[in-house]
Symmetry: C2
Subunit: 338 residues, 2 copies
């Protein structure tokens, strides 16, 4: 079984984003939000059958851990109530996708974060989603949308949220949203910079002493981290910390959203196979076919299949075993729907 731990609903029917636009306009005009969008089951089926499901089948993957469009979360837009209603609308839509395609998708939720609002305010929506069968969440380390002015992930500010994650036994993918800072490009630099920032915050902290079972996934292959593994090792060791392998062991995981063979080879060379989760982020950040390889840039399964650094046991962990370990609720879910 091949589990893709990082997919967003980027192909949602147009009413969905249309409602978001109306919601923002209403907020700006000081009016109540519009009635929630009407989307039929057939419209959802079509958007998935011609989108993510089609690609799953073409590439030979089985199950996508599926969340709302990351760049659309827009935590910096409006206020907490705007963020809450948008999160509910997005998560409810994911729940419907999962109910229509229970063999192929399982839900991860968007959180109603907002700049300056304590993360503990997002616990109710997390709980609601887990009750609906969701198995994780996307946690935004920079709700400002590009100015990195939230407390580090190791600050007590985040602790009440981590407590709820641990209680519900769900991991978080650390994932920012669309960038409103003109200095950064959402998918080109902002995502990667947030990943690198998050890793560096974590490795010099005692967060995992306080939360030994907390599991955090750093997407996009960990940003700059594997390429600079020696730099991070050196900084950790100079600060009296253990080797990175030891620091990340039970708590930090990287996905495989790295869109070329040499990048995946490096990831597999420096990061222990136990800490890598298969992912493609399709249909997502980088569309189109690589003219040099003749294959889609984001067809990451090919790179893993071909990586000389991995044996079959490592591939099995990356494709399936690690996802089952990190997303503990996946087992119940998959067994229940199978």
């Amino acid at each position: 079984m091949i589990i893709d731990c990082h997919g967003h609903y980027t192909t949602a029917p147009r009413q969905h984003e249309g409602w978001r636009g109306e919601q923002i306009e209403a907020y700006k005009a000081g009016k109540p939000p519009p009635p929630r969008p009407r989307i039929t089951d057939d419209e959802i089926r079509e958007s998935i059958a011609n989108g993510q499901l089609k690609v799953q089948r073409e590439r030979g993957t089985d199950l996508t851990i599926f969340s709302p469009r990351a760049s659309g979360m827009g935590h910096h837009i409006g206020d907490e109530s705007v963020s809450l209603e948008w999160s509910q609308v997005c998560n409810d839509l994911i729940a419907r996708v999962v109910s229509l395609f229970p063999q192929n998708f399982v839900g991860v939720c968007q959180l109603p974060q907002s700049p300056g609002v304590p993360p503990k305010n997002a616990t109710a929506e997390l709980k609601r989603c887990v009750k609906m069968g969701f198995i994780g969440c996307n946690l935004n380390p920079d709700p400002s949308g590009g100015y990195f002015n939230a407390p580090p992930l190791t600050d007590k500010w985040w602790y009440p949220f981590y407590e709820k994650m641990v209680e519900l036994d769900v991991p978080a993918m650390i994932h920012v949203s669309g960038c409103c800072n003109p200095a950064m490009h959402t998918t080109g630099s902002y995502y990667l910079n947030a990943d690198t920032m998050a890793f560096m915050q974590l490795i010099l902290s005692d967060l995992f002493k306080d939360f030994p079972t907390l599991k955090l996934i750093i997407p996009h292959g960990g940003g700059a981290v594997p390429f600079h593994w020696g730099r991070f090792r050196g900084i950790a060791l100079n600060n009296g910390r253990p080797e990175l392998d030891e620091i990340i062991k039970n708590n930090i995981f990287f996905d495989t959203c790295v869109y070329h063979q040499p990048g995946i080879n490096l990831l597999a060379e420096v990061v222990p196979a136990d800490n890598i989760l298969f992912a493609s982020e399709m249909v997502g950040a980088v569309k189109g076919i690589d003219p040099k390889s003749g294959h889609y840039f984001d067809d990451t399964k090919r790179y893993i299949d071909k990586s000389p650094r991995l044996d079959d046991a490592a591939r099995k962990k990356i494709f399936e075993g690690n996802a089952r370990r990190v997303f503990s609720r996946l087992k119940t879910k998959v067994t229940a729907t199978a």
Copy 2:
């Protein structure tokens, strides 16, 4: 000849940083700045002979392109006049190092940038330094010290400064300073994030159509860029831009401050050898010996010597040829002092 294009004077006599502390205190108290620090030639000789020069000799490198301590530039501290005087003090000290060790060091200057202040105001100090024999500058893309709120490097805001660079025929290394944002670690995430941000700004722009001879060095191996070469290629192609090799050809260069063998191997595999400049950033960001290799993390010459991706011709470019091409004034300088 082996030219290290990225070294900072991190071992300056203590009076130097001492004066900086007094300068900041005076600024806060609304008092005039203290008299400039007195440092003897012998103190400078000792700090270099036991520092960078010793390491140069141990590692078998010949010439370091040398600039003031990057994390000490502190453009976010004080105002434009504070930044100008500190830059002059720092650059004058580099000029003295170079005059004492003309065979081993050549100067690159710090710029008197300040948040919100037009970069063109830094042209006078650049000109002054070039007259003293400096061959380049360090340009800070985020004078705020961690909030990334300056216009992108492709904005007309920077153009008057680029015009002066082109006129004087000097390149810039794009290098931020110490981070005052608690979400980021200066050498662990902030430096790398600025590198990644800068590259992404450049590749979708027409900057090099406006300045065909402008040369920019992105340090620390280009941040996250080589690891995500496929991602950046895909984004560029999707935006109707050419292949990255073509975009960077005459204008964008990466250094080799990547502190492990797999990282250098990747860099050498994806980035054309013509666009890589040898650098170690010693004595700098990562001190200490890698317990796994038994060698200093920042002894990057070893990784280049051992990289299976490089032949002798490529190594010669990386160690010497490219630096001579990018730092056009180096030729005059080295000939003059030889």
